[in-house]
Amino acid sequence: MSPKSVQKIAKVFIWGGGAITVAVLLGIILYVLIQGLPSVNMEFLITPPKGGLSGEGGISTATVGTLYLLGITLAILLIPGIGAGIYLAEYARDNRPTRMVRYAVETLAGVPSIVFGLFGFALFVTALHFNFSILSGALTLVCLLLPTLIRTTEEAIRAVPRSYREASLAMGASKWQTIRHVVLPAAMPGIVTGIILCAGRIVEETACLYVTMGGSAAMPTSLLKGGRTLSLHLYYLAMDTNAFDKAMGTGAVLIIIIIIINAVTNLLSQRFQAKMRGG
């Protein structure tokens, strides 16, 4: 066979790979939206789920649970995550402690969600007596998301051109003044992208929350009360009840949230990269 015809066949396979990937994505999204959207209406959004083995009711408490968890997790996560990102980008020298921190961040990023769940279950739920609660879930998520926020913060700070720092230091600003008033503001859109990425992960995560939040269908009235997120709610509906229509409805809501989050992060990071190149 001539090299040209081999190339033709190869390209069919290459384009086939791309086509299958897109088909899988569109297939999942369209299937969930078409099956799920009919059960999504105002009543579905504002009615609490019955819980237990009943698939009745809507998703109001699960939505509140998701937002509650989102707020608490981000509140605890932001300072250590961004702080560590600043350290790795601005202070870290290539020495043993730095390599150990980097190794820890890389390794932590690969640890399965359920292992974080076991850890949270042993430490927060049992040893610290937070029981199955929003707080236990949030603290477990903080451990899980730390590597993500550290990496995105570090990348965003590294993208800020050196000339910014040099100009500030030349004007007599101290290192921290430079970071605080010059580097961080410039890197902020990149850091915000990382935070939104973490928000997306909080919405998606299930395994580590399944063993730390308890999954109560009631309205979470305090940090120490159990609760469920939309993802957890979908899981309970699919496994414990026969309410596949409601599960699909919850899935449709989740897909829409994820599409919006992805669109926002893409937009922000494109703008940030364009700005840093221009700067």
């Binding site: 090299p3 990937t21 897909i255």
Partner: protein, 289 residues
């Protein structure tokens, strides 16, 4: 001392403490799971725990071999399709597609990462499980789990392979084309071999993601703690073993589940280390050239 010097020093220490948090958490995870898992390992013995074929908590039998086999089978099963599709897609993104196609395809790959694993599981339950049932068995099977995982590991393989294909120096490609190679000959005989360390890293990280997946697996694999004998038979993964039983387990049973977590942790540690080395070697190779 001027106040800004004090602030400067304090800030440095604060961010250093933040940075050490990851290290502390990693250590704490290891220590806590080990401590909780140790009693079971002492009672059961490492040999019986790792190679025991019966998992019957009621009768104090805790062998995790069925779950280890289940995890390995679904992971390898997912790779059968995910490697060729992922590599093809990576070549498309890195070399073949126009800018406009890339601008559509890349967000699609990113979105695939963002879809919650319970949604994959739900689609698997309602589409793939019934389809597998047509071939035979209950449908909840190793095959269904492998197919669901294929979609979930694709983005990992695609994005890391694409990056490493892109990192191949331009000179390699131009030399091949200047010698009269077709674009495909250049890709297959020059670019892919030069990027193989990175592609390997992508595959290994994809395997890590597959081994660690929990909820989607519980939803489609059937969760019977038996050694699967065919792609159509039910099974259980290491992750599923923990999630399904931890809520009601106590005593030695609970401890055995933590030991399962330790094994999972060690498998991931090995896979990640292999991937890190592969990525470093890939970078060094281009550096020398």
């Amino acid at each position: 001392m001027p106040s800004h010097v004090v602030v400067d020093r304090t800030a440095k220490h604060v961010v250093l403490i933040c940075a050490s948090a990851s290290f502390v958490i990693l250590g704490a995870i290891f220590i806590f799971t080990m401590r909780e898992g140790a009693p079971a390992l002492q009672e059961i013995g490492l040999y019986n725990f790792l190679l025991g074929t019966e998992w019957r908590p009621g009768q104090e039998m805790f062998g995790i071999l069925p779950m280890t086999v289940g995890s390995i089978l679904v992971t390898l099963g997912s790779m059968v399709l995910a490697i060729p599709i992922g590599l093809a897609c990576a070549i498309l993104l890195a070399e073949v597609a126009s800018f406009r196609v890339r601008r559509l395809l890349r967000p699609a790959v990113e979105l695939l990462v963002g879809i919650p694993s319970v949604v994959y599981g739900l689609v698997g339950m309602l589409l793939i499980v019934p389809a597998v049932r047509e071939i035979g068995g209950s449908g909840f099977s190793i095959l269904a789990a492998s197919l669901v995982l294929t979609a979930m590991v694709l983005p990992t393989i695609i994005s890391i392979s694409e990056d490493s294909l892109r990192a191949v120096p331009k000179g390699y490609k131009e030399a091949a084309l200047a010698m009269g190679a077709t674009q495909w000959q250049m890709i297959w005989h020059v670019q892919v071999p030069a990027a193989r360390s990175g592609i390997m890293a992508g595959i290994v990280l994809g395997m890590g993601r597959a081994i660690g997946e929990t909820m989607a697996m519980i939803m489609v694999i059937g969760n019977s703690p038996i050694i699967p004998t065919s792609p159509l038979s039910q099974g259980r993964t290491l992750t599923g073993n923990i999630a399904v039983e931890i809520m009601y387990a106590s005593g030695i049973h609970r401890s055995a589940l933590f030991s399962t977590g330790v094994i999972l942790f060690l498998i991931i540690l090995v896979l990640n280390t292999v991937a890190t080395f592969a990525l470093r070697r890939g970078l060094k190779a281009h550096h020398v050239a």
